[in-house]
């Protein structure tokens, strides 16, 4: 190590010291942009990010129709076995017997929000909602059926 190196190191050390302390000092002084949310108070105005994954939901349109064909791709994709699809056969307008979902069972308690089911779904029947207040007093309440009662598959979805 040469002498120049030595003093160069000292200079670099002091410089990085000053730079780092300047940054944190600025943060310390700049009070406005605190990132902390005072949550229960601001529940009304709370905005979550678009991509926040809260739970899996199955959207229905106004005529109580969903897009799920009961193909069980999501069930296969789920690493935790959080999704269970029970199917039934329904007769459609043409009189053909066709497979359709009976109940779309979703275990929120074992779900890790990995998003694999959403990716696997060929018909975009399920999506991630950004609802995060899942606290319940009974564990059974975390077992959810996603398809609404009497719902049907949307026409045109194969």
């Amino acid at each position: 190590m040469t002498l120049g190196n030595y003093f160069g190191n000292i200079y670099k050390g002091l410089k990085s010291l000053a730079a780092g302390m300047r940054l944190t000092g600025l943060y310390f002084v700049r009070r406005g942009d605190s990132l902390t949310q005072e949550y229960p108070e601001n529940r009304e105005s709370l905005k979550l990010a678009e991509r926040f994954r809260g739970e899996v939901v199955m959207p229905h349109n106004e005529s109580n129709e969903h897009r799920c064909t009961g193909c069980t791709a999501c069930e296969l994709a789920c690493p935790n076995g959080s999704i269970k699809i029970l199917t039934k056969f329904v007769v459609n307008e043409e009189g053909k017997k066709k497979k359709a979902i009976d109940t779309f069972v979703y275990h929120l308690d074992t779900c890790t929000m990995c998003n694999l089911c959403i990716v696997a779904c060929p018909t975009d029947a399920i999506i991630m909602a950004n609802n995060f207040e899942h606290s319940v007093f009974d564990r059974t309440k975390l077992l959810k059926v996603l398809n609404k009662p009497e719902s049907k598959i949307m026409t045109g979805v194969e």
């Binding site: 000292i10 780092g20 944190t24 943060y27 310390f28 005072e38």
Partner: protein, 362 residues
């Protein structure tokens, strides 16, 4: 000297004379010891709570957070709650531990750092024991604290504890050198090791202003070395969570852990008070040379306010450090001490001695 308006000597003298009037000398001594002991314990407890609160707030603000803000006004009650939790928790002693030593260690650590408070002048005349080797005494007592840490590390019968204790011990012992050299440089300038002398020598300006660049270098080195001696980030290898869980106090819980925690903060206070005393004039108000009127105005601010103001400023700097820099590696730590701080502080000490001999300081 207008300084006398806030002189606490009269107060303590009054107390002493009052006691003397009623009891024999030995009892007076004992009483005074008990009173000061209680005062110190109270002070220490309050101080630690304040510092913990401060630390959390500073950390939060530097990380663009809010910090504790629920319990009490601005979260001040949070600390009390934490303390209560620690006090009420069960203290567990591991099976394979050396029980006596394991239980002894926190007391050693805590009592040493409380002993170090003795010669610190909190205000004009507000000092427990103004002995003639004040700074040397503090240095020696601080070095005692290592023993407690080593005892804790060994007696836990846990490899993480032991490694943490060894790292901590090595770190404290090595950084003590450069810290000691910086202390000596002020001793050289003020010509005394007595705290009151050192403070009085700054009546016409603090050393950091009077002593030009060498004293500023000494100050910076002292702050760095103090941070390292305190095992605080970025020098917290002794309790590096990712490597050693929590270092020497891994096995401690409840009140014993609280004592280590307390000791850590008191040590911080002691070292920062030292820095404030040595470089920023202790309780001495901000004076500029012979501007008498300005100095008089400054004297109206009570001396403990000055002292705590400076000390907390340095504590803030150390906290600022902590939340700015990542942890060093062991080799970087030792490089910093033995290759940089120690040689620089040695040369600096020479420079200061030269400066003192030639009378170059103000």
């Amino acid at each position: 000297m207008i300084l006398s308006i806030y002189n606490f000597t009269s107060l303590t003298d009054k107390f002493h004379n009052f006691l003397l009037a009623h009891m024999s000398e030995g009892i007076v001594l004992a009483t005074e010891l008990i009173v000061t002991g209680l005062l110190v314990i109270t002070f220490v407890a309050v101080l630690a709570m304040v510092l913990i609160y401060l630390e959390r707030k500073v950390a939060a603000y530097m990380q663009l957070r809010l910090g504790p803000n629920r319990v009490g006004i601005y979260g001040t009650g949070q600390v009390v709650a934490d303390v209560l939790k620690l006090v009420l928790k069960e203290g567990i002693t591991p099976d394979g531990a050396d029980k006596l030593m394991f239980n002894l260690a926190p007391y050693v650590v805590l009592s040493t750092c409380m002993m170090a408070l003795a010669p610190i002048a909190f205000g004009n005349g507000l000092v427990l024991w103004d002995l003639n080797i004040g700074v040397l005494y503090i240095t020696s007592i601080t070095s005692l604290g290592v023993i407690g840490i080593l005892i804790a590390g060994w007696s836990s019968n846990n490899k993480y504890s032991m490694l943490g204790a060894m790292r901590s011990g090595a770190q404290i012992v090595s950084y003590e050198l450069s810290a000691g050299l910086c202390i000596i440089s002020i001793v050289v300038l003020s010509g005394s090791m007595q705290i009151s002398d050192i403070v009085n020598s700054q009546a016409d300006g603090w050393w950091i202003f009077k002593g030009h660049i060498p004293v500023i270098i000494a100050f910076v080195i002292f702050i760095i070395a103090a941070t390292a001696e305190l095992n605080r980030a970025p020098f917290d290898l002794a309790e590096a969570e990712s490597e050693l869980t929590a270092g020497f106090h891994t096995e401690y819980s409840g009140m014993k852990f609280a004592m280590f925690f307390l000791a850590e903060y008191i040590n911080m206070f002691v070292l920062c008070a030292m820095a404030a005393t040595l470089f920023l004039g202790g309780w001495m108000p901000f004076h500029i040379g012979h501007w008498t009127s300005f100095n008089n105005v400054m004297d109206y601010i009570p001396s403990p306010l000055w002292f705590f103001g400076k000390t907390f400023f340095i504590i803030f700097i150390i906290m600022w450090f902590r939340w700015t820099f990542p942890r060093l590696r062991v080799d970087q730590l030792l490089d910093l001490e033995w290759k940089y701080l120690l040689p620089i502080s040695m040369v600096n000490l020479l420079a200061i001695a030269l400066m003192n001999i030639l009378g170059w300081h103000f």
